[in-house]
């Protein structure tokens, strides 16, 4: 049933943003800076989702059965801005999309600092924010908002999923060194890992905090080399992860201790040139799960046909986040934000690329599995993008903290 403006009072960009034949989505991803590679991949996921929604692609219909073409029959248009992974740039761009283009939903990520800032913008402007990559516990924790939703995994679930694997592989009572980027993502992921591993007697011998985009990691790595650690847990992301791992190799650190990447970085295996072989990592999505999940197979095929490479988890997260949003709007039968939010909050079990999932009503976090991977040796790779073995797909429900554990208070609908 079509939505009429007079059904609901005006709020945010409703009804102005959805009264014409099309609706507008504001996308901000880093296309420059430390997270540029991951941002481009994420953008491709958004673009494919928009294309599928507008054409009524078979995959979208499996996720959102009521979708025909577009969302509630309206064509989806979008604008893209470079956030450079900086909160102020992302907020400025999205404010412009909201004011000038009447964006009915905003999205973007690959930095939790950006995600937290856009959460606040979304709540203030009463425009939905469907979060891109964000690993901080705060995004659906202390900085959660009524208007924000996150599909992907995060510090707590990453740590809860990978820790048992690490304890089983390396043993109890190990000494860990951390490399931590100095913002909400780094601090919360490191804290979650420390908490989970402490239960098996693991201790932190050093935690090297570095600024985002650090040009050199030598002094941090010397501290790590001299720390006597058994395991190096590298929480850095994007090019920071690439550079710190390469320099760790140069300084002989990787010969002294085992490397672990608790929050996997898309394209890390390719960019580090073999240094991820044998390394454990937790991730949101890896293409080879397609043997188990038919929707993942459909997604991989569509993505590879368009872009000529296997999608990484940034693209997968972007795609499925939009697909879920389209479903919620179709189910609500309106773009009126409070009704769309309440549809998410029904906690209905819905399809995704990693099986059935649902969004938790208390914090708007998607309850979804975490995938543990291990870097393949060169000789075992069957194709140039076959970088990882799937070690385990850990169901999401048991990984989550209690909804109020990280101080989430969603705020008002109107």
């Amino acid at each position: 049933m079509p939505a009429y403006a007079e059904d609901h009072p005006a709020i945010g960009t409703y009804p102005a943003g959805s009264s014409g034949p099309s609706v507008f989505i504001g996308i901000s991803v880093p296309r420059t800076g430390t997270y540029a590679v991951q941002g481009e991949d994420e953008l491709k996921g958004y673009e494919l989702a928009v294309e599928h929604i507008n054409s009524g692609h078979e995959l979208i219909k499996k996720i959102s059965p009521k979708t025909k073409k577009g969302v509630l029959g309206k064509e989806v248009k979008y604008g893209v801005a470079d956030s450079a992974a900086k909160p102020n740039e992302a907020v400025q761009a999205q404010q412009r999309f909201i004011s000038e283009n009447k964006a009915i939903v905003i999205t973007g990520g690959t930095s939790s600092a950006v995600a937290v800032a856009l959460n606040k913008l979304a709540q203030r402007e009463k425009v939905l924010f469907v979060c891109g990559i964000s690993g901080s516990n705060d995004t659906t924790g202390k900085d959660c908002v009524r208007y924000g939703f996150r599909q992907n995994f995060y510090g707590q679930t990453a740590a809860a999923a990978i820790s048992p694997v690490l304890i089983k592989t390396f043993g109890k009572n190990k000494k860990a060194a951390y490399l931590t980027p100095d913002y909400t993502y780094g601090h919360t992921v490191t804290k979650s890992m420390q908490d989970q591993l402490a239960e098996a007697g693991w201790t932190t011998v050093t935690n090297q905090v570095s600024p985002l985009g650090a040009p050199d990691f030598s002094s941090y790595l010397l501290n790590v080399a001299n720390s006597g650690a058994d395991v190096l847990i590298n929480v850095n992301w994007g090019h920071d992860a690439v550079l710190s791992i390469q320099q760790a190799k140069q300084f002989g650190v990787l010969d002294k201790m085992k490397l672990v990447v608790p929050y996997q970085v898309p394209f890390l295996a390719r960019e580090t040139g073999g240094l991820m072989q044998g390394v454990y990592a937790a991730t949101d999505y890896w293409w080879s799960i397609e043997d188990k999940y038919p929707l993942a197979k459909m997604f991989n095929e569509a993505f590879e046909k368009k872009y000529n490479y296997k999608p990484e988890w940034g693209a997968a997260n972007a795609y499925i986040s939009f697909a879920h949003w389209a479903r919620m709007v179709e189910e609500a039968g309106t773009f009126y934000p409070p009704d769309v939010i309440k549809t998410y909050e029904k906690e209905e079990v819905i399809p995704s690329l990693v099986g059935d999932v649902h969004y938790r009503k208390e914090d708007h976090q998607c309850v979804r599995p975490v995938i543990i991977v291990k870097g393949k040796e060169q000789k075992d790779m069957k194709g140039k993008e076959d970088y990882y073995d799937i070690v385990e797909i850990v169901p999401g429900a048991g990984l989550m903290q209690k909804p109020d554990a990280f101080g989430c208070n969603l705020g008002d609908y109107t």
Binding site: G33, D216, S219, Y220, L222, H239, L243, E271
Partner: protein
Amino acid sequence: MFNWPNFVSQVFNGLALGALLALISSGLTIIYGTLGVLNLAHGAMFMLGGYAGYAAFQYTGSFIIAVIAGSLFVMVVGVLMERIIIRHFYQRPHEDQLLVTFGIGICFVELVRLVFSSDSKLVPPPPLFQGITSLGFLFYPTYRLAVVGIVAIALGVLFVVLYRTRLGMIVRAGIEDSVMVDSLGINVYRVFMIVFGIGAMAAGFAGIINAPVVSLTPGVGDDILVETFVVVVIGGVGSFPGAILGGLIAGEIISITSIFDPGYAYVMLFAAMTLVLVVRPHGLLGVQGRE
């Protein structure tokens, strides 16, 4: 995490890091010290040197050719940039110079992104300098050790060219009184072009020498530009020995602070710069009045 082996390691690392920073800063200080132009495209030219060297390495597999290609390419870019754009800005306010060089830098970065994408590119160190060397008190990447020597030689050559040759003398005379030098029959602006080319070449050389230490991305110069400015400000804007001293001080501050709390390494660097600006506004080895 203080212990003596780590302290000695970090002091040594500060030296190596400082040598690298001094090399990167030298091009910036040459151009500013002689022409009075603060070149905000310096980071981008540093990056261009890395990529030109990377491209040459891909074709030839030779690190030496990569170094030559990286240096020469950026020198040519620098000369063209000076002839086409910068020479129109010598008599204009500093703000205009900052804006135009900043804009040129953005163009360079985005052009490289267009051609090479944002993916990291690897340039391996030459076979002779691969691996790790044991210094007794620490293991250190051999290439970083070699860089200290390479930097010392490169800075020595630059110093001789700029301060011990006829060219250098003309340049310094041109800065003092360009009208007088002009009337002596010397084409000052041609000399300025050469200096800009040398400064650019220093940036390009630093870019390719630094490439095996970091992995190349189009943003590699942006990250280093801020540190370079700190080095130049601490050492004294326009002072060549100042760039070396500033580089070593910056390297030591980053390394030694990180022993106690790595989160404060860059805070301390900026605090040191602030202190220098308060106590000696022209930097440790800077000369008052040089603009």
